[in-house]
């Protein structure tokens, strides 16, 4: 095994473990917002790491792989938080309220804003 394969293989295994953790988070968390939390963060770093690892492995044969890998990587790093943010806002406006453990009233600051907006519309 060459040095490129060792470094790339390390990134590959690390990334696939984070992808697995993302799937586990989606499976275990109690409501849609917490699922988004686990899903977005773990899968972003996981996918970035796997794609970068493949680019590193192929670096000794062909330099074009890592350039295209960087294009996919940057696209995922920009698009993934945007889609999760759009989804979170859509869920709140579609009246799916977050699961809140403690009885504190201030825990949901966004509800005030939505209520105020409704009052203004009426």
């Amino acid at each position: 095994m060459s040095l490129f394969e060792i470094i790339g293989g390390f990134f590959l295994v690390l990334g696939s473990i984070f992808l697995f953790l993302g799937g586990l988070g989606i499976f275990r968390m109690p409501d849609v917002y917490n699922r988004l939390q686990a899903g977005t963060k773990a899968t972003t770093l996981g996918a970035m790491s796997v794609i970068f690892g493949v680019g590193i492995i192929q670096l000794e044969n062909d330099w074009t792989w890592i350039v295209k890998a960087m294009v996919i990587l940057i696209f995922i790093a920009f698009s993934n938080p945007i889609s999760s943010h759009a989804l979170a806002r859509a869920m709140y406006k579609g009246k799916t309220y977050p699961f809140i453990k403690s009885k504190d009233k201030d825990m949901d600051a966004y509800k005030e804003y939505i209520d105020n907006q409704k009052m203004e519309e009426e």
Partner: protein, 85 residues
């Protein structure tokens, strides 16, 4: 090297099946969309890994196009759920 690829594919397949369970089970539409988003990202990285395994450069383009389409799909569904479409 073969073993490393087997280990990586193993973890990816477990992640895929866990989010597929959530995709089938999810109580609301939002849960299903979150699971779909995760499925898309895992499949994109799987395609990149497979393009290395089969040594075909063109599969990288497939992965890129799939990432773009998945992103647009999630945005459109989110706008629809929000009631703004």
């Amino acid at each position: 090297m073969t073993y490393i690829i087997y280990i990586a594919l193993f973890f990816m397949i477990i992640g895929l099946s866990l989010s597929a369970v959530r995709f089938v089970k999810g109580p609301t539409a939002g849960d299903r969309v979150v699971a779909l988003d995760t499925l898309t990202i895992i499949i994109v990285s799987g395609l990149v890994l497979l393009s290395y395994v089969f040594d075909r450069f063109i599969y990288m383009d497939v992965a890129l196009v799939y990432a773009v389409l998945g992103f647009i799909g999630v945005i459109v569904i989110a706008r629809y759920l929000e009631g703004a479409l």
